[in-house]
Symmetry: C2
Subunit: 174 residues, 2 copies
């Protein structure tokens, strides 16, 4: 769980002769506090909100900077705790890697909801492709964009409204 992850990061830091800092602790805790796919901005907000709530000392100079968030997320990724995911909207996201087996994503174009899935059959098909092309995979990611159940239903309701409206307008035209 969380303490194991913190241990892993701590080990990683020491092995490299790096230093433990309050900022790194805050950022790692924020990252570990959810199961979401977080952007650097998300993490920056989480960190600085939690700081301003918890630390009410009046001599607080400034929050954790964006550069530190990016730098630390790189370390967390390199330590094996995080994986960077790119959904193609121009922002990187980070998700848990430790204790979370590899999986793929369904991304809703309506509400942004992200659903994870994995499939043994898909792994087998992939293996077959790799052999066919003599390709050595280092990473792989299947992304499916579309509409989640909720968004699909609301879209259909929208359509129905519009078609009623159109019918009405047509009658008024007579």
């Amino acid at each position: 769980m969380e303490s194991e992850a913190k241990q892993i990061f701590d080990d990683y830091i020491r092995e490299r002769g790096l230093k433990g800092t309050a900022q790194r602790d805050l950022i790692l805790s924020a990252f570990l506090s959810t199961e979401d796919h977080l952007t650097a901005e998300d993490i920056h907000r989480l960190v600085n909100d939690s700081v301003s709530h918890n630390d009410f000392s009046s001599d607080k100079k400034h929050g954790v900077g964006f550069a530190t968030v990016y730098r630390t997320m790189k370390l967390i990724t390199d330590s094996g705790l995080a994986r960077e995911v790119i959904f193609g909207d121009g922002v990187s996201r980070f998700e848990h890697k430790y204790g979370h087996p590899h999986h793929h994503h369904l991304i809703c174009n309506g509400c942004g909801e992200i659903t994870e899935f994995s499939s043994q059959k898909m792994n087998e098909v992939e293996k077959h492709i790799l052999k066919k092309y003599s390709f050595k995979a280092e990473s792989h990611h299947f992304k499916i964009f579309g509409l989640c159940k909720n968004c699909e239903e609301s879209r259909n309701q929208e359509k129905q409204k519009k078609s009623k409206k159109n019918k009405k307008m047509y009658q008024e035209d007579k």
Copy 2:
């Protein structure tokens, strides 16, 4: 073939009350001239190189601008001729859509080579996933990053060289 594609673009342009221009012709021709996955920069270069080679009039003011390349590739994409692909290296690429059935990609981290593949079995697995999650797919893309056959082989040769070198240094240490 190419003329069909140009006809489709022409129709698209007229339907919308847009105008045909020399720039749009050049950009579309450049895009159609290869089967590659082109960046806006690639297309810009293709267009301006071909212009300076073919059109040697000395009163040529300037080449086609980047903004026009981006704007026109958006039109070409909307017309259904192109598809935008995002490999996650920070640049968008465009590939043929017309006459090119949907497929996925193997991307070599060594030389950048892109190999296309498709798999009926994978489509079936995907369909199963979509049903399971009640998700309505609008687009989907499986990307596999790694090393192509060539790059994998050269990497192994590198390894062998290094191991020889290390052995030699070890002996010299004695």
